[in-house]
Subunit: 347 residues, 2 copies
């Protein structure tokens, strides 16, 4: 690259010190600098098309105006939507964001944290993979500003912004019950991640508090390694036997997608043969035959607030903020109310 013009070049051209140039261009000490000199400096800066070197500025101020964002996989719509929201909010405050995908892998996550920290990002937004508590604790010990996003560890006193996961599935099950469904299955991920286990807990409580039995056999925990066949099999299992389910709740967007694929290939009719509640919103639903009832996360609010909180906590001694946002249940055709059989309602 061609050498860019520096403060020194301007200083020389105008015949002043670099200090003065710095002050003028940063609009500092305005009242103490003669208008004439200031004007000339600005003019020359313009002429030479001066662009400050952020790296030098960063070294001096130890602020990079850069945020690190660690997502599960930037190619995943949830992550990329989040990235976009964070980008916009960061930009609004003059920050740039550098991202990395952890692939839900603790080693990768650690490597990303190290890389981003070596690059002196001012703060970190982290969708933490399972098994990264110790990494997060270390960050905290180092007093690195960060906020956990989407996931968090209940055992750690850190800032986070996440969904009220418990309530999200609770509401979904409640809605199914209200619509007349009684044998409700759950397809979820086998993981220690709190935000997922909370979803299972919400499902269980909703059943019990509505007088329905919680049956372990109706909860299918998948590893996520072999998605399409595993989900297909889980659905089959739930729908066969002497006590088949009449509704299924999915606890993640991927599971929902794989589930709908399986439902399509198994020619299951929604909602007459099976009611379905999906997790997260996605364009893909719109191409599916039946419109899908789903749990909608307030992504916009989540990304925006998380970024704001992070930016806040760049100031020393900012208190921890822990927020659980409420999901919205978007009710569509896949959970249409059952006409309760006359026999039952008569009794």
């Amino acid at each position: 690259m061609i050498k860019k013009t520096s403060l020194k070049d301007i200083a020389q051209a105008v015949g002043v010190s670099t200090a003065l140039v710095s002050y003028v261009l940063n609009n500092q000490k305005e009242n103490r600098i003669s208008k004439e000199v200031a004007r000339k400096i600005r003019q020359v800066a313009q002429e030479l098309n001066y662009q400050p070197n952020q790296i030098a500025k960063s070294l001096k101020t130890s602020k990079t105006r850069t945020l690190g964002l660690i997502v599960a996989d930037i190619a995943n719509p949830f992550s990329s939507s989040m990235a976009r929201i964070v980008e916009d909010e960061a930009d609004r405050q003059g920050y740039t964001v550098v991202f990395g995908s952890s692939d839900e892998n603790p080693q990768k996550c650690q490597k990303l944290i190290t890389t981003l920290l070596n690059r002196q990002v001012d703060g970190l937004l982290i969708a933490a993979p399972a098994g990264t508590e110790s990494q997060i604790m270390t960050l905290q010990k180092q007093t690195v500003p960060f906020v956990l996003i989407d996931r968090y560890f209940p055992s750690l006193k850190t800032s986070y912004l996440a969904l009220d996961n418990y309530q999200s599935t609770y509401d979904a099950v409640r809605h199914l019950v209200d619509s007349g469904y009684q044998r409700i299955g759950l397809i979820t991920l086998k993981t220690s991640l709190f935000h997922i286990t909370e979803r299972t807990r919400g499902y269980q409580s909703a059943l019990q508090e509505n007088g329905l039995p919680f049956q372990k056999s109706r909860v299918k925990e998948l590893s996520g390694n072999n998605p399409t066949p595993d989900v297909a099999k889980a659905i089959q299992l739930l729908r066969t036997g002497q006590d088949p389910v009449d509704a299924i709740v999915f606890t993640t967007n991927s599971l929902t997608f794989w589930g709908l694929k399986a439902i399509k290939s198994q020619h299951i009719n929604l909602p007459s043969e099976l009611a379905v509640v999906g997790f997260d919103e996605t364009d893909a639903y719109e191409l599916f035959d039946t419109s899908i009832t789903y749990i909608r996360q307030p992504l916009q609010e989540m990304g925006q607030l998380a970024t704001k909180i992070l930016l806040e906590s760049l100031n020393p001694n900012t208190p921890i903020t822990q927020t659980n946002l409420k999901a919205t249940l978007v009710i569509q055709a896949s959970t249409q109310s059952l006409s309760v059989p006359a026999v039952q309602s008569a009794e």
Copy 2:
């Protein structure tokens, strides 16, 4: 943040100069440094958990090992998939990537370029919006290393990595003709972007070289501002009148998505009432009733090669590389071969 340990700290602890520490930790001049001192330096570095400050290193070397990536919108699956591929390839070579979304807006693109350049990224990967030729020319004048990705300007002699857009739709139309379709419509974007106009040109040539008339009325150019209703209307228009189309080719992934939505809500049967070729591959297709024939871009190859080329061109005097990758036509049910009417085939 807590003060991190610096080269100086190690130097003091060991009782040597920072220079020596730097050499040892960077594995330089290995043969000229006593094993004992080197060992001790490494040990202390380990003990103090030394992490080099990339910013300082960057200021000195004027290399940041950071790549800038400008996409249309990181929330768009095409962009985010690309971002992921770039991330992985960059990481493999020890680079980090910072991204920005242009929203196809020249002003935003310019702002992004300036920001990224001020942050001293080593090079730029740009999916250039329409109307940014001058920005790209300026980059070239400044000898900033960059490679255009997905889009490019035929008038500019710059490195790029893109699709063979002409051939992509040519092949699609050819396939439709081979399958017996004769009245083929095109739904495309109204834009000056070369990669899109090439797709229209491919469509036109394929028709003409296969003895079919090119009719302007069968090409619908949409602004993209009002997607769902506009696409629905375009499809209706193409399928009514005295010469309705029997097939439609879409030239972008968004158009395809909106098109399929419209097709679903208009209850058009694929392929009996209409054959469809989509652009790009997306999960969403898998939830659609009919499996969709689509033009598949070699995303992986594109992102990976583009990154490699950019990394290459960080070395001075690297020649320009211009590459058009071939698309693959993935043939599925939506363009099933028509049984040619007996009358016609008999003649």
